[in-house]
Symmetry: C2
Subunit: 312 residues, 2 copies
Amino acid sequence: MSDRLPPLTALRAFEAAARHLSFALAAAELNVTPAALSFQIKSLEAHFGAPLFRRLNRAVELTEAGSALAPGATDGFRTLAAAWRTAQRTQDHQSLTVTAGPAFTAKWLAPRLFEFAQAHPEIELRFSASLRVMDFARDNIDVAIRFAKQVDPDLFTLPLAEEWVTPVMTPAMAKQFPTPQSLRDAPLIVDDSIAFIYPPSDWNAWLAAMNIAAPASFGPRFSQADHATDAALAGAGVVLGRRALVLKYLAEGQLVAPYEFALATGARFWFLCPKAAQDRPQIVAFRDWIMREISKTSAVTDRITIIAKHDA
Amino acid sequence: MSDRLPPLTALRAFEAAARHLSFALAAAELNVTPAALSFQIKSLEAHFGAPLFRRLNRAVELTEAGSALAPGATDGFRTLAAAWRTAQRTQDHQSLTVTAGPAFTAKWLAPRLFEFAQAHPEIELRFSASLRVMDFARDNIDVAIRFAKQVDPDLFTLPLAEEWVTPVMTPAMAKQFPTPQSLRDAPLIVDDSIAFIYPPSDWNAWLAAMNIAAPASFGPRFSQADHATDAALAGAGVVLGRRALVLKYLAEGQLVAPYEFALATGARFWFLCPKAAQDRPQIVAFRDWIMREISKTSAVTDRITIIAKHDA
DNA sequence: CATATCGGTTCAGTTTTACTTATGTGAAGA
DNA sequence: TCTTCACATAAGTAAAACTGAACCGATATG
């Protein structure tokens, strides 16, 4: 038996060997000779007080003690490697990796990317568009923009403008459907990506808030918000547009929000980054820029009344 | 900049120094001289490419890079140490640490402890009674008995007898309240510890299943199931008894379950242990013993009909 | 205002650890 | 049978980690 922690070099050798179930491969991974690795394992076993591997004919397998040690060892070294990478990234003031959902990336970030690049030519901005919620350390992410009701209090968080939904469409189509009531005959594009929000913020909820019976059938369905928006842009119908995603088109006149009322979603976009990273220059630059861009566009929707939370 | 992982001895030195914010204390913890520690930090910083500590007058503080590295480093080494301890424990065939909720510990395990000790005098059984769900590696736990609907599929799991609830009381009180209907006038002891189960398995649910209107008020409340059971044992009223917790008293006649129907809870007790540990002799012994004990007592409640899941 | 003290650093020398090259062993497969 | 493969062992060497003593600057103290 022994101390609180074994010799770390030997433990790392064990971890690689357990992962490959081969001393030779582990030795190659660590850039040492098989002899060195064999010796490390042996010394670790001596330290431990029992074999960690069973030596078979031309292979090795873990003993019970080895199987108990292996997962935690792998996990521990992975954690250390992630921490090291994270620390390394603090030294990099040139690049900034942002993760956001596909819709926000396509409809908010990408159209404004050029302006950010002009304002901060020294920063190399990278995107990682995914619905999967990333881990800052593991996935080498600096900043996340996420749509959610609540966020992890261990992170640096900044609420972006509150989110609501209202029907948006091309100006041509707006002439066709001048009132909320007239939407019953309109092709209503369905965006399934908001399904996870509770209370729901879908067509049924908006129409209910307007005291309008739901139509017998809906129009085309999309699983991602940006595709639904694209369909509306193409004149395919009316989409229940989320503020952040359609603001730019409203400002430019490509889409209009003809009705007076919007439905609060209860959720919003958040700016997220690790607390330790909140003062890194490129993160500060990005944060300031995103806040400025948001305040810039808020005038576009001043006219719209937000309906307090629906009951549903 | 550098490799995938820095020299581990240096990293460990950093971790201790970051935790204490003192090189001297860190050196003491690692049983080395301050000189050695200073050198390790310096070499780590060289490897990293930037300072990790700011040297102040008579103290040190973390730089931004240091703050980014420290939490992950601590976490990583903690994980490694936990894995090492877990592996060490596999070599110990004498002792067995079991965690369970307070009620199960008091009303099921403790009363049977003597029998287990007789059957396996070589095993030193330890208890860790807590509602907090433990981590096997971190908390040095071998086996957990937990009441839940579902369990982690990465663990070795064994479902214990299905759990239901039915009113139980002293024999004297059973004469007073011969039918479920008569319970409306009985002191109904409330056990709040089942609140987390869904669908709820409380008095309202049981009475509803019997088509009995809930009484205007309930009797004493307890936040833990064993205390509620104790109150019933003392003749303070009728408690909605969970099978596992009251079986022994039913078998011994201290309590009776006078009515024919029990309500299934949808949850049950589980035997849990890490997969790697499932064949350790004392765990096998404990598992076999607990299964045997359970099958032994099932005859006591043969008479009772279990009502399939309530609607609520 | 000296001066002791505290926390960290530097340096020279020593011990310990880690590694390589070369050789050995036993079982599987051509 | 005779390679070949995968690991073990041995001897020697390079590298690392550590110690003890001297050092440095800043605070605290009488």
